[in-house]
């Protein structure tokens, strides 16, 4: 007659502690691309400069107002030249057709700009290399003279920023 007793078969567990790898890593690469295109931005603080009438014996050179702040921003290929020019469309001309030569207008400059004399041909006021933001102030002067005919004289001065 079989005894009704539990029969336990004890077996040691198969522990594999030393073989369990612990640290794990996973990597992924992200490719970043950024486009930088050529750009140019030119800003003038005012749309006009005026010279008030003055006694030529007292004021040999009339200072224009306001002082003009010029900001030239550009992106270009490395090593490329960036230029800023000014050019008068005509001589200063009055309503009666009298003229004052553009060369009677000069300017002093600060910052990244160069001083110069106005002309009906382009005059360089800034010459730089590579991308960047440049600025300066221009203070205009008009040579005064008893030879000028009376009238209101004006001309259009065009600023050109070139960044190839």
């Amino acid at each position: 007659m079989r005894k009704s007793l539990p029969l336990l078969i004890a077996v040691a567990a198969a522990l594999v502690l030393s073989g369990v790898p612990a640290a794990a890593q996973s990597t992924a690469d992200l490719t970043v691309s950024a486009a930088v295109n050529a750009r140019a931005s030119l800003t003038l603080s005012d749309a006009g400069v005026a010279f008030a009438d003055a006694d030529p014996d007292v004021t040999a050179n009339i200072t224009g107002a306001p002082v003009l702040t010029v900001t030239a921003k550009s992106r270009t290929s490395n090593g490329n030249a960036v230029t800023l020019t000014v050019q008068a469309a005509t001589a200063l001309t009055s309503g009666g057709g009298d003229t004052i030569a553009a060369s009677n207008v000069t300017w002093a400059a600060t910052g990244d700009l160069s001083a110069g004399t106005l002309d009906t041909a382009a005059v360089t006021i800034g010459n730089w290399s590579n991308s960047g933001s440049r600025s300066g102030n221009m203070t205009f002067s008009l040579v005064n003279s008893w030879a000028y005919a009376t009238g209101n004289y004006s001309t259009t001065v065009t600023y050109t920023l070139s960044a190839p």
Partner: protein, 160 residues
């Protein structure tokens, strides 16, 4: 019933034995069960939960026999001694289930640590010895802490 064995005088000269039999006149036989597991150690190998959502261990071949059980039921159960344990970490034992063949008398199920679960059952005798195969399965998960977890499962064959 008390039986007397009367002797002649000569036999009474020696040691006489008086046997008193107590108890009902029950037959000498009772149920007999036999259980043998060909594998007593199984291992769930580590696997990527994304590739292997359920990890299977090696199969367990179970040999069992039930005798002198005419008209009676028999049952093979399994009970886990606790959750799968690795130091302070544990995996709930309900994540372990099994499939079994042949069905019937074997059946699939899920382990618990509180109530014996039926692995196989039937009536009458199982003679000669029969064989079944169990394959345990562990739900895989990224939430398991690294370690080697262990636990015991007790199989019990009974003929109540």
């Amino acid at each position: 019933m008390v039986a007397f064995r009367s002797c002649r005088l000569r036999c009474l000269a020696g040691v006489g034995g008086l046997a008193i039999l107590l108890g009902a006149s029950a037959p000498a036989s009772a149920q007999r069960v036999s259980l043998n597991l060909q594998t007593t150690s199984i291992t769930f190998q580590s696997a990527d939960p994304d590739m292997t959502p359920v990890v299977t261990a090696q199969s367990i071949v179970i040999q069992y026999r039930v005798q002198q059980n005419a008209g009676g039921s028999w049952r093979l159960t399994v009970l886990a001694a606790g959750d799968l344990i690795s130091g302070p970490a544990s995996i709930d034992i309900s994540n372990v289930s099994w499939t079994a063949t042949p069905t019937p008398p074997f059946q699939a199920g899920t382990l618990t640590k509180t109530v014996e679960q039926t692995v196989a059952s039937g009536f009458g005798n199982v003679n000669p010895q029969q064989t079944g195969t169990l394959v345990f399965r562990l739900v895989n998960s990224w939430t398991y802490t690294v370690g080697t977890y262990t636990q015991s499962f007790v199989f019990t064959l009974s003929a109540p």
